[in-house]
Subunit: 513 residues, 2 copies
């Protein structure tokens, strides 16, 4: 058995199914490129049948991201599989990931199929997928709650009809390590053929990482996971924890290893957090800001002694060093794009121009910008996609305890201008009302999150707003030294996205393994 454990990242599929996350093509591409840089083995790019937007994202990633296998999720129906193949066919290494539920409750309540019907679906679906590509993965959804004998029959049919990876999902996060490990061992023992066994564990009881690792101990050589543990409900196994547990406890895991470049973990985590608007809690293992925080304020010499005493991972191993100051208001365009390139962020043409303009505006107000600030600026620009319909020309806000908050906005709209004035409960409320009036897009704010990018009183305010209107949800982010201005930018970015989304077909609400 090989000692290489493949890392299958499902941030863009299962992660993106989280409530309120709605990434557009440019954002998904940016994450996929970072995942390739991180060195994951497989990127699950989406579920092409779910919506035209999903299809387009998978297709774009398959076209341009090199290195990892690119896979698309699919049910067993031919329409699903054909659509999945159409989306991934141009990938350097394409895979189709076919799934169907095998637990009694799912077959009865969701599929309304008998066991024989499910078996027939597996044979037909897997064969169809294999007719397109040699790399076919099969998942029995809700595997951990399925009858083991039936599931094994289904898995054997999948292998016999061309599946090369068998993924065992703990769809509802019900597993415990010993039991889940035993299930993996049983599958390996029972199923004949040439295949890799994979785990897909959800974290409802806080055990996703432990269950996945128990799977690896039992012989699984692929782990499905997501950056920051994103995913349905309490999420999937956290990629960064899986990778660092295998690396740190190599002695225990019998020398298995992953191909992940761990020093990219922190940046990947920040990027995903920014683009999804999902915060990472301070005490999150590996990528939380406290994961190595006991170092703070201790003299360098002390750290070196202390490190062995209280630290089992070196912060630099996961790219969690302190931010380095890189650029100021006098830095030019060349230095700006050079620095981005060193950070692995490639921007060109209009996107580079826009990012540089924002950089100069922010550098004018703030003395120094760190590399983390730069990441945020790029994220703001990329997050808005290619075309902005509206932009802020000017903003004027007044408020306090003695008067009703009021905001005036002037927006550019193509070559013209629109403006409005509005009152509100607070200054952010007023500015949102003014933008809603000026653009005619009045949505519901589902979430409003403010964080400071680098900490400290003069930090950049980083606002993410999730906005719902006409059945679409979009998130926008805004960056400014003023929190109300950042909110206005975030809201307007979300409005710009909604304007683009408005004509698209809605996404089918389909849940994967």
């Amino acid at each position: 058995m090989t000692n290489q454990v493949k890392i299958f990242d499902t941030t863009l599929r299962d992660g993106e199914q989280s409530p309120g996350i709605s990434l557009d093509v440019a954002e998904k591409l940016e994450i996929a490129e970072q995942l390739a840089r991180l060195g994951v083995d497989i990127i699950e790019a989406g579920f092409p049948i779910a919506s035209p937007g999903d299809f387009e994202s998978v297709e774009a990633i398959a076209h341009s991201v090199r290195g990892p296998v690119i896979t698309a999720l699919s049910r067993t129906g031919f329409q699903d599989i054909d659509r999945a193949w159409a989306a991934v066919q141009h990938a350097e290494h394409p895979r189709i990931h076919v799934f169907i539920a095998t637990s009694l409750i799912h077959m009865k309540k969701k599929l309304r199929m008998t066991e024989d019907q499910v078996k027939a679906e597996v044979v037909a679906g897997v064969s169809r997928a294999r007719s397109y590509t040699d790399d076919v993965e099969f998942s029995p959804e809700d595997g951990s709650r399925s009858d083991v004998d039936f599931m094994c029959d289904v898995l054997q049919l999948a292998v016999d009809n061309g599946a090369t990876t068998l993924n065992i999902p703990d769809t509802v996060g019900y597993g415990v390590p010993e039991e889940f490990g035993a299930l993996i061992a049983h599958v390996i023992d029972r199923i004949d053929g040439d295949y890799v066994v994979s785990t897909h564990c959800h974290n409802d009881l806080g055990l996703a990482v432990a269950n996945s690792l128990a799977g690896v101990q039992a012989g699984a050589r692929q782990v499905e996971c997501a950056v920051n543990g994103l995913g349905e409900r309490a999420g999937n196994a956290a990629l960064e924890e899986i990778v660092m547990a295998i690396k740190t406890r190599r002695d225990y895991f019998g020398g298995v290893e992953t191909g992940v470049r761990t020093e990219e973990l922190a940046r990947t985590s920040r990027l995903v957090s920014r683009l999804t608007g999902y915060p990472v809690q301070y005490n999150k293992a590996v990528v939380g800001r406290n994961a190595f925080a006991h170092e703070a304020g201790i003299h360098q010499h002390g750290v070196l002694e202390d490190r062995e005493t209280y630290e089992i991972i070196d912060a630099s191993t996961v790219g969690q060093e302190a931010a380095q100051i890189v650029l100021g208001k006098h830095s030019g365009r060349h230095a700006f794009s050079d620095t981005l390139e060193k950070m692995g962020l490639r921007l060109q043409g209009d996107a580079l121009n826009q990012a540089f303009r924002r950089f100069k505006e922010l550098a004018d107000r703030k003395v120094q910008l760190t590399d983390v600030d730069l990441e945020a600026i790029v994220a703001e620009e990329l997050g808005t996609g290619a075309v902005h319909r509206y932009a802020i020309a000017s903003l004027d806000v007044h408020g306090g305890t003695q008067s009703t908050p009021v905001a005036k906005v002037v927006l550019t709209d193509g070559d013209g201008k629109v403006d409005a004035e509005a009152e509100g409960n607070g200054m952010v409320d007023a500015v949102i009302a003014a933008i809603a009036t000026a653009t005619g897009v009045a949505g519901t704010v589902l979430d409003f999150k403010v964080s400071s990018v680098t900490g400290g009183g003069d930090a950049l305010g980083d606002v993410v707003i999730q906005l719902q209107a006409d059945g679409h949800t979009a998130s926008g982010r805004g960056l400014a030294t003023d929190i109300v201005e950042a909110s206005a930018r975030a809201y307007l970015n979300a409005v710009n996205k909604l304007v683009r989304l408005r004509d698209r077909a809605p996404r089918e609400r389909t849940v994967g393994p």
Copy 2:
């Protein structure tokens, strides 16, 4: 062996050691009262020798919180133990928790002691503790990295000299479940006497919950854990995950159970998040806002079918129902205090008056207040402690893209007034500068966090600021419909705390197991 697993909560000790968390006596009491309501078995209230503030908090909790055992942490020295006993002696059920490191690296680098010296310390320390109380816990710090034979010799000495609980810490979060479970089994097998074995697992590799549960499977009957998984670095095992795993997988865990009232879990999590300023990530198991989020927007009938399909925990079991609208601007003082009482929040005297005044101010601006809003109002009032030196009389702020942000504040200072005007990078920056000028307390903002209490565009803005000045750190929270006003309130609350802290002795930086 009993099938009752005791839940030992260390939110107020190990949790409070997290960077930037600095709870005052009133806040610690509020959390301890909620922990008692939650039904934990043991509350580790603090580390009395560490500072006068820690001593005072432990003493206050020992005096007034009824139900759980109250314990205090202590090194082996007599001064430590005497101080710990002085703090907990008036508890209904007092315990002293003695620890010393037993790993080679800790003994050599930190303690600079030989094995024989460590043994002598254990004999002396545990005996001293036992001379005060029959309930003595002993922890060999960094146990999972200690030589097993030496650690067992030390544990046997601890039992022989009066320890009734033996806690095995995985101080650096290095353990994996199978290995840690085997260690617990070995300890039980090897050590003679009448004692309970306990686990204390850190989450550096994402395995704290799994390791603790492996300990329970092996016979541990106490689990040390913290609300929201708070604690040093990546934190401790999350209390809510431990409790729900044992409850949900009772079949697997051989029928063991805890005494926790699970329907208080969500409220406990929110209270701790508010008072510490540590956000809970959306995809956090059990208490994250997404843990049950797949229900959103699905018709009630669908939920009922779906629940069995994709959900293993009912949201109401952990108190995660949707917030119920309870009060509006016409609600009176009686209805207000009645509602709080039903929510289990007891406020009296000045605190009740202040909370009611804030409630009316906020209800005036916002149509309806939910029970989650009420919790936040109470948290704001309790979070400021008993005495406010400064309060906001009025606030006036102006900003935008065409002018420099400027803020004017008028503060009451006892019977008098102080005022100031200042400019800033942004409106929040300006208002902070104005308050700093008016109060003469100019600190460094270490963290600035904004969240909306209930979501939606007209939500209350909830700001937490961590402020450092003169070597002290304090957090303040502020609530308002306007984000700049909420920031001003949060900053001023932190200033009020710092003013009170200024004359106190600094806390010794001591790290426990």
